[in-house]
């Protein structure tokens, strides 16, 4: 695909969907609803950008949602039991990152394909999350300073949106303007030439997967603060939606390649779709079907990068 339609086609289709809901769905264009969408999108986009980092280095991460749930119950559990928020936050970020490092080591040292390695990590994280909570959720009246991390407004803008903006800008800067970001891109684009050029491709893969885990930790903290509760499956639904956001994003701006802006716009489109469908009175399962179709359609448009990441061909 080349040219304007090839580069912006799906973004325009997303805009058309948005305008359709503005016209067709009652209350969709209400500012409160739009802000609500943006809040949902921020979780999706932050996780999606983590996945984008992993995929940029040519690896899949199917563990980020369960890592986020695990980090959330760790953070929530500590807050719930009266530990200082700083400690709880550090624990959440550390757990997410550690899961990412584990993925990186499994992929680059033990040589387990990322598709399998991260699936295994996901299962382990899920088990640990249930172990930590004994299967129930942590709910309570939590430290207001902590809760504000996910609920405050700054000049009328939900703080979640600001966190998302910060992650987007930092990710863009790293990938577009730094050596390490470029080395990650080279690793995913052409591993052998990158290695011959002296790029430490294994370190780059570990970094990509670690960033994915770290951003799962970030999402966990924000999600826990926003809901002031933590449950062992709380981020599970974001697995498919965030991956769909990345895949949809790969059809725009830099077609065929994972890219941060695409992930952001993909996340917005998916957030808009699920919100709009609910407002139109569609049953919940319709969202799942639409999500599946988006995934298939996006991959059909940008297959090669994914095949390489999944199967090394």
């Amino acid at each position: 695909m080349r040219g304007f339609i090839g580069t912006y086609g799906t973004a325009l289709a997303g805009l058309a969907v948005f305008l359709f809901f503005v016209v067709a769905a009652p209350n969709f264009a209400n500012p409160v609803n739009l802000l609500n969408i943006l809040k949902q999108v921020s979780f999706l986009a932050i996780l999606g950008i983590g996945f984008t980092f992993a995929l940029t280095t040519g690896e899949l991460d199917l563990s980020f949602a369960n890592l986020a749930s695990l980090a959330a119950v760790a953070t929530g559990g500590l807050i719930h039991n009266g530990y200082p928020p700083a400690l709880a936050i550090a624990a959440g970020l550390a757990l997410g990152s550690a899961g990412g490092v584990l993925n990186g080591v499994l992929v680059t040292r033990v040589k387990v394909p990322s598709l399998i390695a991260t699936l295994a990590t996901a299962s382990i994280a899920n088990g640990c999350a249930f172990f930590l909570t004994a299967g129930v959720a942590f709910v309570g009246r939590w430290d207001p300073g902590f809760v504000a991390l996910g609920r405050a407004h700054v000049l009328g803008v939900p703080v979640l949106v600001l966190w998302m903006a910060a992650v987007v800008l930092i990710a863009l800067f790293v990938l577009k303007n730094t050596r390490v970001g470029f080395h990650m891109i080279c690793t995913g684009e052409a591993e052998e030439p990158a290695r011959l050029a002296g790029i430490r491709v294994r370190s780059m893969k570990v970094l990509g997967l670690t960033l994915s885990g770290a951003l799962a930790g970030v999402t966990a903290v924000l999600l826990t603060a926003n809901l002031s509760s933590a449950a062992p499956t709380m981020a599970g639904d974001y697995l498919l939606t965030a991956i769909a956001a990345v895949l949809l994003g790969m059809t725009m701006f830099e077609p065929g390649r994972p890219n941060v802006l695409g992930t952001l716009v993909g996340g917005v489109v998916i957030g808009v779709l699920s919100n709009g469908l609910i407002l139109l009175g569609a049953d919940y399962y319709v969202q799942d079907i639409v999500l599946g179709l988006i995934i298939i359609g996006s991959v059909a448009l940008s297959a090669s990068t994914l095949k390489k990441a999944a199967f090394g061909v």
């Binding site: 684009e189 052409a190 030439p193 050029a197 002296g198």
Partner: protein, 252 residues
């Protein structure tokens, strides 16, 4: 560029075994500064093995390598590259979806200060990469174009541009024209002359004797892991060279 007669790269008693296979069996060879040296030989003669050893892609079983008179042991192609020996692989080792300048500077990017940070200096990299393309006489000078949009010959100039970026003084090319058509082959031969014209020493592996006659100053012929002939190309034509490769003896 006229060869100086001074060896820039020499190998002595260089040998390589792969299990039971003696791929290279005690080769002595001097590459003279400023020359284009062709290495010829039948399939399995040991050409690629020789190149792997002097480019750091593999380590010798026996023998020595001297660079500018000093003994060296390259531990990786990267190691050889930083010491001025660049190898252009037959598959060129390029990232097709990345831009020309990104390929030229891959692994050795230029950066500039931005406050406390160091960021990629894209402007300078693009300008310098275009400069290399001009220097090599390439028709494509927009260094932001993706490599996938280039012809085979143009891709060779990107790969050579990378050697220029490293300021390598020895550039090794393994069958650069093997996959190319007539017109592109002519372009690559021009490229080799242009490269040699900038003072670089070129070691060229080729099965195409017409190419060898067209660009090389000297030729070394390998046969079953041994060097059987090393001589100037002048006075030889492609048929005589082919005959020498087949028989391992000087043409009558």
């Amino acid at each position: 560029m006229t060869p100086t007669g001074e060896p820039i790269l020499s190998v002595r008693r260089l040998a390589k075994r792969y299990g039971a296979v003696q791929a290279l069996a005690g080769v002595d060879l001097d590459v003279q500064a400023g020359e284009v040296l062709a290495i010829c030989g039948d399939n399995g003669a040991g050409k690629s093995t020789l190149i792997k050893l002097i480019s750091g892609a593999d380590v010798p079983s026996e023998g020595e390598i001297h660079l500018r008179g000093e003994p060296v042991r390259f531990v990786s192609p990267q190691d050889a590259l930083t010491r001025g020996v660049a190898t252009i692989y037959q598959d060129l080792a390029l990232a097709p979806r990345l831009a020309i300048y990104q390929n030229v500077f891959m692994g050795a990017e230029l950066t500039r200060g931005l406050g406390p940070l160091r960021v990629l200096d894209k402007r300078t990299m693009i300008d310098q990469a275009s400069g290399y393309m001009v220097q090599l006489g390439s028709a494509v000078t927009d260094a932001t174009r993706p490599v996938a949009s280039l012809s085979g010959g143009q891709r060779q100039s990107v790969a050579i541009g990378r050697a220029l970026r490293w300021n390598a003084d020895v550039v090794i090319m393994d069958e650069p024209t093997a996959a190319l058509g007539v017109r592109e082959t002519a372009q690559v031969l021009d490229l080799i002359r242009a490269l040699n014209g900038t003072g670089k020493t070129v070691v060229l592996i080729s099965h195409n004797m017409a190419d060898v006659v067209a660009v090389a100053h000297r030729v070394a012929i390998l046969r079953q892991g041994r060097k059987v002939i090393e001589r100037p190309v002048s006075g030889l034509d492609a048929d005589m060279l082919s005959h020498m490769v087949m028989t391992g003896r000087e043409a009558a």
